[in-house]
């Protein structure tokens, strides 16, 4: 356990601090914005696509199964990112129009 902490101390720092940042950032949000906020957060966890890209880059070019699955993963991750941001933008567009 101690060994694990020493090896990954930077990562563990990030995790702990981010938990607090996440809670702090949401703090007081009006109910009206819950849906766009959820949708925006949904887009942000699309960052998992970076993992899919790294997976592809680390895969041997003759491992076709891994490449196939990796390509699907990159596709799905991109879908999450692009769809997420665009749909959030559309929601917020409607709030803005009438000002």
């Amino acid at each position: 356990m101690i060994e694990f902490f020493t090896e990954n101390k930077d990562m563990i720092f990030i995790v702990i601090l981010m938990i607090f940042v996440g809670v702090e950032v949401i703090g007081k949000v009006p109910a009206v914005l819950h849906t766009p906020l959820m949708s925006g957060a949904n887009a942000i966890h699309g960052v998992v696509v970076v993992g899919a890209i790294l997976l592809m880059l680390n895969t041997e070019p003759d491992n076709y199964l891994a490449l196939g699955l990796g390509t699907v993963a990159v596709f799905l991750g991109t879908l999450n990112v692009v769809g997420g941001f665009v749909v959030t933008d559309r929601m917020l567009e409607m709030f803005k129009k009438k000002k």
Binding site: G22, T35, T78, L79, V86, D89
Partner: protein, 461 residues
Amino acid sequence: MHLDIQHIIYLLSSVTFILGLKMLSNAKTAKNGNSLAAVGMIAAMITAIVFHEGAVSPLVYGLIFVAIAVGTVVGWLTAKRVQMTKMPELVSLFNGMGGACAALIGLVEFHHYVGDSMSMSVILAGMVIGSVSFSGSMIAWAKLNGKIKNAIRFPKYNILNTIILIGLFVYAAWMVWTGTGSEMHLYVLFAAALGYGILFVLPIGGADMPVVISLLNSFTGLAAAFGGFLYGNQVMLTGGILVGSAGTLLTLVMCKAMNRPLFNVIFGAFGAGTTAASEAGPQGNVKEVGPSDLAVQLNYSKKVIIVPGYGLAVAQAQHVIKELETILEERGVEVSYAIHPVAGRMPGHMNVLLAESNVEYDKLKEMDDINPEFAQTDVVLVVGANDVVNPAAKTDPSSPIYGMPILDVENAKACIVNKRSMKPGYAGIENELFFRDKTQMLFGDAKKVLSELVAELKALD
């Protein structure tokens, strides 16, 4: 050198995520916040590709670019074309895609790390959570767009689900413990996680879907963070944990707005409560009103409040209601909208819908602001809402919705309720409001009867 630039960009991306999320919680800055986070995301993706160390075959680059290109086009078009009423299920769908992405990463990377118990734990955790999020989101999506109608509950489903959950945990722990490299075990675990996601969401009622989606959203964030741990990638870690923690808090905030403890949402306290409550409803006569009589009544009112609910979204009546508002305003009637925090299928859903039909932002009043106004209101028009105006929430401690804050429509001089039939709302309970003296029922599809109402009003002039 390369590595330093890479880390700086990852750091900046992480900052855009935090700032973006912060800006999203304020109406004025929300749109810019979303764009900012999007820029950070693009930067992170490009950085991951450009600053990769080591030789990579052109085939791999080609596949990555094709996948990103196709994903962008499909995601963009889907998001642009979807009707705003279908938006909640789309969020669920995209969330599922992210979960599936995390699950696939786990599936592929597993055999690289066999024997390394720490990495194996991280991979399996990411894969299991991603899979649960994926299959759960798909069920939520199917429920929201009506492909799955009712809450499906197996006997003793709570116990069954808990056993499966513990089983998943034990199985994964055993795999790490023995350091097995067997693909078979990996696929069994994968399938079991998918199954758990399905069983987890199936028994939950449609009205609780927003909470479930929000919860699954934070799951996917967690799965992304495990990926970040695996690759030692900071931006995945920050983005993932940020969404994981913000998503969990958002879930709790939503539960609070509905006065539904998260525990009850997941373990389905509604199911148990309905039997006791449904027979207790005070039966009596309901008064019906037709569009022509109602038109006259509205025409001579001073102040009208419209209470929109999910029925309005289903009937796509948001444009007609705006038309009604315009006509009434022309006749000198003061019109505003009372938005219950959980009106529709997602908090804020009604606001987005009404905004789509150009209803002014100032006319949408939140519950606490508008409740005192009902007493001075001539006519309240409830369109497709039910439980959020049920007085039992205040008066009947045995009611499953007891304690939920409601709109005090019963204080108005007259209350018109538009519904398709007398069927109870999602909570499955009778609404005493419908039988009150001041209440009149306007039966029919919201879009249809409101169009008739508008026509009658025009004819009155």
